[in-house]
Every structure is written in structure tokens, then in C-alpha cells.
């Protein structure tokens, strides 16, 4: 699993970005997205496009944790969202690891299939481990714990006298805390 975590301000400005990989099951905590290095912008595109769904889901779901709200099938990217009272949104993109066999799936299409990632259906095959199945209840629970922990640190950071609402979060302490939470839960 690779993760891309973003905090967006109410006006959709990113306050904080971090990409990390899973630490469970012998993972080394380094993100390996399916996009080539030249196409890392796709993460932001996917997150940005899921705001459409988020805007809808926040009115239909009572909780702060909205669970899995959106999927980008071509790259098997799953978006989970968390709302904060100040209007900032936490968005987590998670992408199961690519199976070696699955790469032949869309290769015949166009040269861009690398950009779009490969078939999402193949991921279901590897659902044995908890983290590899993004829609399982265990994963949702793990993400909830992660989100809650990040929320705590976020509140503390936002209360800092040197932080103004809407500013980018540059605090290294916050970053280490998020990384730690990621290591702990995801």
C-alpha cells in the first residue's frame, strides 16, 4: 500500500502533503505509486477530483470520518476523507501495491496506460492481508485511528500562537507525528 495524505483548507488550498508507504507486513514505509515519476501529479489530480464527491458526502454522512468516499478505478486509488470543524479536510489516497502479473492488463492500450495505472480488479486477488484491501472494515478502522491521531496533532498545531488559519503547516513536529501515526496504523 502506498499512501498520499493531504490536508486541504476550506478553499481547497493544500496545507500539508505527505507521501508514505505501509510499514505493516515488512513494508519499508516508502511510497511506491503506480504512476511513473514523471506523473506524480496524478495523486493531486485524483485527490482534487474527489472533492466533488466529498462535497456531496459531507451532507449525507453525519460523522467527521467519512470513510471511503471515492475510487479512481484506472489506478486503483481509494480516497478516504475526514472533516474537521474548521472546514479543513483530511484526504488520504491509498493505493494497493501493484501485482507483478497485473501489469500486462492494459499494456496493449495506449502508451499512457502507465499513467493511468493498471487494472483495479487485480487488487482483489491480494486481499489476504488487511492493508491490501482498501475497502475492508479493518482498513477503514485503521484509517480511522490514523485520522483521529492526525486530527489531535492538527488541533495542537493549529492552536500554536505562530500558526494562522489557512497557513501552510511547516512544523516539523507535526510532520513527524503524522509519519509516526502512519507507521503505527497503516
Amino acid at each position: 500500500m502506498s499512501y498520499y495524505f493531504t490536508i486541504l483548507s476550506p478553499t481547497d488550498v493544500p496545507l500539508f502533503n505527505i507521501a508514505f508507504g505501509t510499514s505493516k507486513g515488512g513494508g519499508d514505509g516508502i511510497a511506491r505509486f503506480r504512476f511513473p515519476d514523471t506523473a506524480q501529479y496524478m495523486n493531486q489530480f485524483i485527490i482534487h477530483s474527489s472533492l466533488d464527491i466529498l462535497e456531496e458526502a459531507q451532507w449525507t454522512n453525519g460523522g467527521m470520518y467519512l470513510k471511503h468516499i471515492d475510487t479512481y478505478p484506472p489506478a486503483a486509488a481509494y480516497i478516504t476523507a475526514f472533516l474537521t470543524p474548521s472546514g479543513a479536510r483530511f484526504l488520504l489516497l491509498h493505493q494497493p501495491p501493484q501485482l507483478p502479473a497485473s501489469s500486462s492488463g492494459t499494456g496493449s492500450g495506449l502508451g499512457s496506460s502507465s499513467l493511468l495505472g493498471t487494472a483495479g480488479s487485480t487488487t482483489r486477488a491480494s486481499s489476504s492481508s488487511v492493508a491490501a484491501n482498501p475497502t475492508s472494515p479493518q482498513t477503514e478502522e485503521a484509517v480511522r485511528q490514523f485520522m483521529n491521531e492526525v486530527y489531535e496533532s492538527y488541533v495542537k498545531t493549529a492552536m500554536s500562537p505562530f500558526y494562522k488559519q489557512g497557513m501552510e503547516i511547516r512544523s516539523p513536529v507535526f510532520r513527524t507525528r503524522v509519519t509516526a501515526a502512519g507507521k503505527k496504523w497503516l
Partner: protein, 746 residues
């Protein structure tokens, strides 16, 4: 119902000089051959789908290029695609979705086989139609003049303006020559050809089409859909391409007319022209006597025709044609309409279209510009013939069959007892014992011939499928949906997977097409499930990519036209198509555009701010633009880019600046590359830029350009000034503007 006197008044007396006006030069028209047909296809769909934007674009360009000071109009990716003032994209889209629906409905029209005697083909060949009688009347079947009234199973009548039939050649039926490529590869080739032709016309300034950037893509996807729908070969598992009727034609030149008719009938029912075993042989026979107006005596023909009527009953027609060839310069010449449903292979080999290459020119030294001409009297006669054939014979025949089958076969399965029957068959425990005894040995499947993989045409399953297909073609979607519903599980039990897939596909399609169900909330889930099953059966069990592609493309278009939450599942299916790798590379990009279009049609519910999918639509448009650029089509890329800008406009708070830095860089780069390549493609010499820019008072100068990573491509362009003169005044200026400006315009 058919008497020779009926149609007589409309026919002018035959010309006494068959060879008149043979002097028209062929060279004069020769070079226009290729372009006209392609233009026609493009123009036709544009006119049909979106008159507004094409108007807007045409009106826009001259104004913009004439007034270089229009700084206030913020530039889009390319100069002439800005038509902010005219034509909202949403109108267009809703129009065209209705249009696509009609296209789909019309593609599922009855097939009529043509079987003409040698002498008839000879007569028609003299008129310049090398394919014989079939080629002559084929274009006229595609739209039948006037309304066609169809009674559905409940007995209510419906008048359809756009009914049509497909004429096929009986000689070629079921013997499709093994193509060199798979259908999808051929489709790809057609698309590429169309793209290239659009490109080459872009090179020359002043062609009407190069200002129609955006409609070109929508017409492309329509072309793709049309290709897909007309590519379907005759197959046992669906009867849309099986003949509903067959026209047996002889001419007045025939020395032994009645014997020939008998011979032709025997050929087609038992002889070597017999259709394959899986085709139901009980189709309507229709007899046509083609009368040669110029050589033969009408009284003789009338006598013969009366005789035919006595022998064969009502299904006869006397078609009066002139045997000489018609040329453009003739007074009453009309162009034969374009064939709408050409399969990709025909399109590639150039059948039925302009410039029919060597044989056409050598055999016929006449100056038609590719598409043949006929006399107006002939055209009228053929139209009347086709109308009579369809409205008075084929439709009543189909209605009759539907009623009979519905009564005799389907009703037995509909009631409670029918359920029991199918259950008993399934478990083979009781009832129908005779059958279950045999089936045990033959390995499953009651009536299913698993070695040849088809049902005998008289098996109830095959008849039910035919009933459903007939109902579908008669546009009685309620009946067809319920019939497909009955049989779809049967096919699964028999492990007739292609039938299984087809029944699921058509069941879902009829549900989506049924206008009654449009208002009622039918469960999208069940439809999705059916598409899922169909696609699984086609792909995994039969590995039939073409049918799966057709199924999913239709699913996308029809779900999209339903609007609401269905558009999202349309987008999902389109992504599945890309996932499966069913489409070729150009088609893949078209599907990206379709996804964008699907998301774009999703509108906020009840005036709320949320519920639209602008960001998703924008993203897919941008991705499509990127892909177009990769295949070297900057014009299409810029159209997509503009679409993306329009989509993003309402959701980006900060005047078109993306909040996310990496997105912003990507979009900036894309925008820039599109501009550069676009100008390059138009043959603009960008080196003249400073000279052109200075008089306009542009404040930014060339140092801005040095920062761009594509500077290299700006140097060393061919100096084709002539093409670029018109646009030079505005082109460089657009290049100069900072890219961020583009998004301000809504």
C-alpha cells in the same frame, strides 16, 4: 395494394437519348473524391447534433482574427476555439445525447436480404452500380421517407419518422470474407484515417472545417459508435442481422421470368444460397420486377406483373427504372444518398463512397464525383418501393410474427405454470421427461447444440430470442425487455454463454431505451448487474472483445443519456472499457472524452451547490488533452483543454489557478505545449513573433519565452507564411500571454 398504375404518375417519360452528356470530364472532379465523403460524414453529424457551436465557431473566427485588439476576450488554449459567448456546452451535450440514442435505436433495424437475378444486376450495372441491385437500393433503405406506423404488443400504434432497414446482399450473407484485421483494428484504422483527413484539411487555410475544432471530436466519437454498431457480423446468438425478409428481383429483360423467380426462391430456400442452419428460414419473400423504362414495353411488364401477383400474392412490386446511366449534368440528376452504416472494412476499402478508385474510373468514363447519380424519377421510384416494402409487407409481417410467437411460445412461459416448467427443466426431475432423458447424455443444454454452439431455429429458446429481437427492432422495448428477461436464465442453464451474454445485454438495453421506464425509477443496480454479467460472459467465457466493446459502449451512452446518478455508472463503465483494453489507442482517448462528458452532464441536484462533477470532468478532459498531444493531434488537444477549462472554471476559486502546485505545473506545461504544437501544425512561423507582436503593443517580449522548456521546438519551423498569415496577428500574442490568464473566462 401494388398496382403498376399506382406509381405511374410520378415518373416522367424516359429520356430518348441515353448517351446524353457523356462529355463531362472526370478529371475535373477526380481530386475531390476523397474529401467530399469524409466531409459529408463530418458535416452530417455536426448538423444533426450541434448546430449551435459550429455556428458559433464560424462566426467567431473571422471576427477575432479581424480585430487583433480583442485583448479583453481572454484567450483560451487556441485562438479560434474561444466561443465563450455562443452556445453553452450543456445544450450541445443534451442535444447530442438524444441524438446518440436515436443513432443506437436506428442501428438495430431489420435486415432485408436482396437476391437479384443476373439480368437485374446487369441492368443496374449499366447504371454505374457495380455491386448490382443491392448497391443501388441500399442507401435508400436507411431512412424511409414519411412516418412508419408500428403497432406494439398491446395494440397501440406509434409513428416513427426515422425508421430504416438494412439491405444486405444475400450472396454475401454468412460468408463474410476473413478480414485481414480484427474489427477493432479496422475501426482504429478508420478513426485514424478520419483524423488524418481532418488534419490535412487543417493545413490549408480557409477550409470550412478547420474552424470546427470541438465538434470534430464529438463527431469522431459518433463515428466510432456507428462503426462499432455496423461492424457486427451475422451471428447465431442474435438475430438482428438475420434477414427478416428477402427481396427476390428479376428484370423485364428476363426471358423466362416466372421460372427465374422460382429458381431464385429455390436457391435461397434449399439451394446453394441457403442461409446457415442457425438462421430461421421462415422469412418473408418479396418479389420485385424491375422494369427497364428505356428498352422494354410497359404493357408486357404489367402483364407479367399481374401474373406475378396472381402467383405470389401481395408481396410484389413493379419497380420502373431507367437503364441508362445518369450523370451530374443531366437535368434531373440526384445524388445517391450516402450509406450511413458502412462497416469498417467497407469504409477502408472505399465501398459506397467517393473515389471508388480504379475500376470505377475505367469502366465508367463519366464525371460523377465519386458518389453515383441517379435520375430523380429512379430515386422516387426506389423510395416508393422501399416504403411500400417496409410499411406494407415487412412491418406487418414482423408484427404478425411477434403476435403469434408471443401467443404461442412466450405466454406459456410467462404465467405461473411457465415458471414451473422452466424449473422442472432445470432440475430435470419431473415433467418434460422425454427431453431430460436425452439431455443427460448430450452434456447439459436441452435444445442447445453445444458442439456447434447454437440453438436450432425452431427451438423455443431461439424463437423467444427472435421474438425479443423483433420486438426490439419494432421499438417495443417493454415486450423485448420482458422476453429477454424470460430467456436470459435459460441460456445460463444451458451454458450457451454467447446467448447468455447477448440476452443480458439486450435486456439491459431495452430497459434503458424504454421511455415508459424513464420516468419510473427502475433499479440501476439491476441494470448494472446485467451489464456486468453480459460483459463477463462475452469476455471471459467467449473472449469476444468486439461484442463486449459494443455492449459497454452502448451502456455508457444510454446510461449517460438517462442523466442523474446513471451518469456516474456510465463513467464507471467507460473506465472499465479502458481497463479491459478493448479499444484501440484512438478509441481509448475517445473514451476518456466520454468519461469527461459523462461527468459533465451530472448536474447538481435541486439547485444545491454540490452534486456536480466538474472537477472529475475537468480532470478527464485534461488527461484526454494530454493523450491527444501524445498522438500528435494538437487541435483536438486544444479542444479538450478548452473543455477542461470550462469545467474547472466554477470550482477554482482563484481565477483558474489550481491550488495544488504539481497540478498547476502540469496544466501549464500542457497548455504551453498544445499552443506551440497547434501553431506549428498550422504552419505558423513563430520566428516572426517579435515583429508581429511589437506593433500590437504587447508588453511582454521574447525573454519570457526563453524560460519555457519548449523553446527548442520554436526554432527551425518551416517558413510557411502563406498559411499562417491570417492568424499570425493573434497567434503570437496568445503565445505571449501568461498561461494563468486562461482560466478567468467562465
Amino acid at each position: 395494394m401494388t398496382s403498376p398504375g399506382d406509381a405511374a404518375p410520378v415518373r416522367p417519360p424516359p429520356s430518348l437519348s441515353p448517351g446524353v452528356a457523356r462529355g463531362a470530364s472526370k478529371t475535373r472532379y477526380a481530386d475531390e473524391h476523397e474529401s467530399t465523403s469524409l466531409d459529408a460524414d463530418l458535416a452530417e453529424s455536426q448538423v444533426a447534433s450541434s448546430p449551435t457551436p459550429s455556428l458559433g465557431a464560424t462566426a467567431d473566427l473571422p471576427i477575432r482574427s479581424a480585430s487583433p485588439h480583442s485583448h479583453s476576450v481572454r484567450s483560451s488554449a487556441t485562438p479560434q476555439l474561444a466561443r465563450s459567448s455562443l452556445g453553452s456546452p450543456f445544450d450541445v451535450r443534451f442535444d447530442s445525447s438524444e441524438d446518440v440514442r436515436t443513432l443506437i435505436i436506428r442501428s438495430f433495424s431489420p435486415t432485408i436480404a436482396i437476391y437479384a437475378s443476373e439480368d437485374t444486376d446487369e441492368l443496374v450495372k449499366n447504371k454505374g452500380f457495380q455491386g448490382g441491385f443491392w448497391e443501388l437500393i441500399r442507401p435508400f433503405g436507411e431512412t424511409i421517407s414519411g412516418k412508419v406506423v408500428i403497432r406494439d404488443s398491446i395494440g397501440s400504434s406509434h409513428a416513427w419518422e426515422d425508421y430504416g432497414v438494412h439491405f444486405v446482399d444475400l450472396k454475401g450473407f454468412g460468408r463474410t470474407p476473413a478480414g485481414r484485421d480484427s474489427p477493432s483494428a479496422q475501426m482504429e484504422e478508420v478513426l485514424e484515417k478520419q483524423l488524418d483527413s481532418a488534419d490535412s484539411s487543417l493545413g490549408g487555410a480557409g477550409r470550412p472545417r478547420d474552424i470546427l475544432g470541438l465538434p470534430a471530436t464529438t463527431s469522431l466519437s459518433k463515428l466510432f459508435l456507428r462503426q462499432l454498431l455496423s461492424t457486427m457480423p451475422e451471428a447465431p446468438h442474435e438475430t438482428f442481422r438475420h434477414p427478416v425478409a428477402s427481396v427476390i428481383a428479376i428484370s423485364s429483360r428476363n426471358p423466362a421470368p416466372l421460372e427465374t423467380l422460382r429458381q431464385l426462391y429455390a436457391d435461397s430456400s434449399s439451394g446453394d444460397r441457403r442461409l446457415p442452419d442457425w438462421v430461421n428460414q421462415e422469412y418473408l419473400r418479396y418479389y420485385v420486377l424491375v422494369h427497364d423504362e428505356e428498352r422494354d414495353d410497359i404493357t408486357e411488364s404489367s402483364k407479367l406483373y399481374d401474373q406475378m401477383k396472381r402467383h405470389f400474392g401481395l408481396h410484389c412490386h413493379l419497380l420502373r427504372l431507367r437503364s441508362s446511366q445518369c450523370v451530374v449534368t443531366d437535368d434531373d440528376s440526384v445524388q445517391v444518398p450516402q450509406c450511413e452504416w458502412l462497416s469498417p472494412s467497407e469504409r477502408l476499402s472505399g465501398v459506397g463512397k467517393a473515389g471508388k478508385s480504379s475500376d470505377h474510373k475505367t469502366l465508367v468514363d463519366l464525371g460523377t464525383d465519386g458518389t453515383p447519380y441517379v435520375f430523380e424519377s429512379d430515386a422516387t421510384a426506389i423510395r416508393i418501393f422501399v416504403r411500400e416494402l417496409v410499411a406494407q409487407s415487412v412491418i406487418p409481417f414482423m408484427e404478425n410474427r411477434v403476435a403469434v410467437w408471443n401467443d404461442q411460445v412466450a405466454s406459456r412461459r410467462r404465467g405461473i405454470s411457465g415458471r414451473f416448467m422452466s424449473m422442472s427443466r432445470r432440475w430435470a426431475g419431473f415433467g418434460s421427461s422425454s427431453r431430460s432423458g436425452i439431455t443427460g447424455s448430450s452434456g447439459g443444454g436441452g435444445n442447445y447444440d453445444s458442439t456447434h454452439q447454437f440453438y436450432r431455429p425452431e427451438a423455443p429458446e431461439a424463437i423467444l430470442r427472435k421474438l425479443a429481437d423483433f420486438a426490439f427492432m419494432l421499438r417495443d422495448w417493454k415486450l423485448s425487455a420482458s422476453t429477454y428477461e424470460i430467456i436470459r436464465s435459460d441460456f445460463g442453464n444451458d451454458k450457451a454463454w454467447k446467448y447468455h451474454a447477448g440476452a443480458h445485454e439486450m435486456c439491459a438495453l431495452s430497459m434503458l431505451l424504454n421511455p415508459m421506464a424513464m420516468s419510473a425509477k427502475i433499479k440501476l443496480d439491476s441494470i448494472d448487474q446485467m451489464f456486468e454479467t453480459a460483459c463477463y460472459s462475452y469476455l471471459t467465457r467467449c473472449s469476444d472483445g468486439t461484442h463486449a466493446l459494443r455492449c459497454l459502449s452502448l451502456a455508457v451512452e444510454l446510461l449517460k443519456s438517462r442523466g442523474g446518478s446513471a451518469t456516474e455508472s456510465a463513467a464507471r463503465w467507460a473506465m472499465r472499457v479502458m481497463d479491459f483494453g478493448l479499444a484501440g489507442s484512438v478509441a481509448q482517448i475517445l473514451f476518456m472524452e466520454r468519461i469527461a462528458a459523462c461527468y459533465a452532464t451530472k448536474t447538481p441536484a435541486g439547485g444545491a451547490r454540490w452534486g456536480s462533477r466538474h472537477r472529475k470532468a475537468g480532470m478527464w478532459s485534461l488527461l484526454a488533452a494530454d493523450q491527444w498531444l501524445k498522438v500528435g493531434k494538437p487541435t483536438l488537444a486544444s479542444a479538450c483543454l478548452e473543455e477542461a477549462e470550462r469545467m474547472y472554471a466554477p470550482v477554482l476559486a482563484n481565477d483558474g489557478v489550481f491550488p495544488m502546485p504539481e497540478m498547476q505545473t502540469f496544466v501549464d506545461n500542457l497548455r504551453h505545449t498544445v499552443k506551440v504544437e497547434y501553431l506549428e501544425a498550422r504552419g505558423l512561423n513563430t520566428r516572426d513573433e517579435p515583429a508581429a507582436a511589437d506593433p500590437l503593443g504587447t508588453e511582454e517580449t521574447s525573454e519570457k519565452l526563453d524560460k519555457r522548456n519548449h523553446r527548442r521546438s520554436l526554432i527551425g519551423l518551416p517558413a510557411q507564411l502563406d498559411a499562417g498569415v491570417l492568424n499570425m496577428t493573434q497567434g503570437p500574442r496568445d503565445l505571449e500571454q501568461p498561461p494563468n490568464d486562461d482560466f478567468e473566462r467562465a
